[in-house]
Amino acid sequence: MEKVSYHTLRCLCSTSEEEMNQAFNIIFNKYRYLVYYVSFDILKNEEEAKDIVNETFMKMYENRRSFMSETKLKYFLLVTAKNLSINRYNKLKDHLTYSDDIGEKTDDEGVNIYLEKFKEVLDEEEYEYLVLHLIYGFNFREIANLNKLTTSQVSSKYQRGIKKLRDFYGGSH
């Protein structure tokens, strides 16, 4: 994936609407799926997750002056998405009737969107670490901090995931 340059981060604060919109769209297009995935993983609900995507990027925009690097930006997006999703989950849990309990929706239909293809191969954590490290370039230390684990725990799980993935793709070829 293409890097978000320092110039793009600065253009977020540009007085030129065109420049600002362009910069915002570059960041949005790169990280929207990550934010959606993180949110969906917690909420298991498409509409709620889409709402969180919107809220997360709004918060990112509110803090646009503080991002001097892509590393800081993507970490911010991830942490914000997680926190907003957890808060939303807790709020919804209190207001739902038993039949609407989101917990009930942790069936195949809720999880399938990402893990459908890999459900026989990867567990949710392995998949998450692969997405964060392989696709979005988070290092093990950042992933460990997010999940309150040690770097070695993340590294081991990631290694297992990569091995399974290699076998999976190798087998399908």
Partner: protein, 510 residues
């Protein structure tokens, strides 16, 4: 591995695209000129109070006997003050400070330098031109220093010398010297500013286990009027500037350096070597300090230390203490007779590169004599099987050195003879007003370093000093065993992968 990554990314995006994710940018509040101004100049927004507080918080322990009793209006306590606080007080005290430079005031602060806040290093990748220019500078100066000195366990603060030479650029009144400086530093004056901004933002932070602080200063003697244009150029390159009486206040320089390096007694007045009497007197001293104290990402345990032989260059051996640990690295470099392998610091971005021969019979300095050790060649990169990370089993000697180096001969060999010639006036742009009959030239550029590798991490304390005189007339895993048991080279890189410090270990001492 690339295929797996590509395939996995495609599958991920395919899953995501089943959902329509769009954003209406019209809901975003437009930026006003004030917003833009605030962002562009955000370092200027940081008040002096915040910078001073941050420095106080890090550099100087504050001892306070404040009593928190609500009814008390007056409290007596003792505190230690930083140079910044003393200067601020001086500025506000009638009769102790005259704002005109060169007016024989004992102590005048000449500029305000806004350093980054100390929270986190800011990564901002160097572009190809910047990387090539700086690597070329580091390489030329490194080899010039190696060729003109035969110090054991030599170390060299590359970014410090770069800072000093860059700060001399504005003082130079010689076209020849400017051309040599341009050729050595590379880039244009404008692009050097952009590059240096990245360096400063990557190397000024203080956290619990990771601190790197690059700082610069210039001290002018109060015999001449300082050139305002030169001060502006120094300010652009984050160089704090002061004018003092070298005869009575030279201790300010010692205090500044020791405070910047968090190390009482790191230098003393003797190190400064000022010429205070006679026809040739010191008029300007430039400093560049580097304080690097970073913990290893994968800690060494003392219980894993072993004793072993270190193979010295003369063919004999010496018993030293080795630290051992293992970690994963994505790659290393194999150059045939020697390898280059990285270890990492706790913030995950700073790294140290070890360059060592494969065979005890080879000498690393001979092998790298005509090589740019700061460039990493892609064709020599070795990845793990199927691009899996490689297990590195590292054995590193514990070391602690203090070294002093002089760079006059090395710099002369790079074309700077005129700059050190006392019969030529080559650096007079540092001063304005009437100074005819005085030849401003460099007396000495030298460096003092203290380097320590132990189980916790790496500590580097370094000061580069440039002294100018005026004569009357600065799961199976592939694994790699690395034993640093013979002379080797180490290079410390910042989060932008800029090589900021390089050293040799010839004879480990701890």
């Amino acid at each position: 591995m690339k295929d797996i990554k590509k395939q996995f990314t495609e599958d991920f995006e395919l899953s995501s695209k089943k959902v329509d994710l769009s954003f209406d940018v019209t809901q975003l509040e437009p930026n006003t000129k004030q917003t833009r101004h605030r962002f562009k100049h955000w370092p200027l927004v940081i008040s002096l109070g915040c910078v001073a507080t941050a420095i106080v918080g890090i550099a100087v322990p504050v001892m306070s006997n404040l009593l928190k009793i609500e009814n008390k209006s007056v409290n007596k306590d003792t505190k230690t003050y930083t140079i910044e606080e003393i200067q601020l007080a001086d500025k506000n005290t009638p009769g102790t400070d005259v704002k005109e430079p060169g007016s024989r005031s004992e102590f005048t602060k000449l500029n305000e330098v806004f350093l980054p806040d100390l929270q986190n290093p800011r990564a901002n990748a160097l572009d190809e031109n910047e990387m090539n220019a700086y690597n070329s500078f580091a390489n030329k100066t490194y080899h010039a220093i190696v060729d003109t000195s035969n110090s054991e366990n030599m170390s060299y603060n590359a970014i410090g010398l770069y800072s000093i030479l860059n700060n001399l650029y504005g003082a130079s009144s010689s076209t020849l010297i400017n051309n040599v400086l341009d050729g050595l530093l590379g880039l244009s004056e404008t692009t050097r500013k952009i590059f240096y901004d990245k360096v400063v933002f990557a190397n000024f932070y203080a956290r619990e286990n990771n601190t790197t602080q690059l700082r610069n200063s210039a001290f002018f003697n109060n015999e001449f009027i300082v050139n305002d244009d030169y001060i502006r150029k120094l300010t652009d390159f984050y160089c704090e500037s002061y004018q003092i009486s070298f005869k009575t206040r030279s201790k300010e320089m010692v205090d500044w350096v020791n405070q910047a390096l968090h190390s009482e007694g790191f230098i003393d007045q003797q190190f400064l070597g000022l010429d205070l009497e006679g026809q040739s007197r010191t008029q300007l001293v430039l400093f560049s300090t580097l304080f690097f104290k970073n913990a290893w990402q994968n800690k060494y345990l003392t219980t894993n230390n072993v004793k072993g032989d270190f193979y010295l260059n003369d063919g004999t051996t010496k018993e030293v203490t080795y630290m051992t640990h293992s970690y994963h690295a994505p790659y290393y470099y194999d150059y045939g007779s020697y390898i280059s392998v990285k270890d990492y610091y706790d913030n995950g971005d700073n790294s140290i590169t070890f360059i060592i021969p494969k065979d005890h019979n080879d000498n690393i300095y001979e092998l790298t004599e005509s090589v740019n050790i700061f460039e990493e060649k892609e064709e020599n990169k070795v990845l793990g099987i199927n691009d899996d990370p490689i297990m590195i089993k590292m054995k590193t000697p514990k070391i602690k050195f203090k070294t002093d180096m002089e760079y006059n001969n090395a710099l002369k060999s790079l074309g700077f003879e005129d700059m050190f010639n006392s019969e030529l006036d080559t650096l007079s742009n540092a001063f304005s007003g009437n100074h005819s009959g005085t030849n401003f030239h460099m007396k000495i550029i030298k460096e003092r370093n203290e380097v320590e590798f132990n189980e916790d991490g790496t500590t580097v304390k370094s000061v580069v000093m440039g002294s100018m005189n005026g004569t009357e007339s600065v799961q199976r895993e592939e694994s790699l065993d690395v034993r640093l048991d013979q002379p080797f080279i180490y290079i410390i890189r910042d989060i932008n992968k800029t090589p900021i410090f390089v050293g040799h270990v010839d004879n480990p001492k701890y």
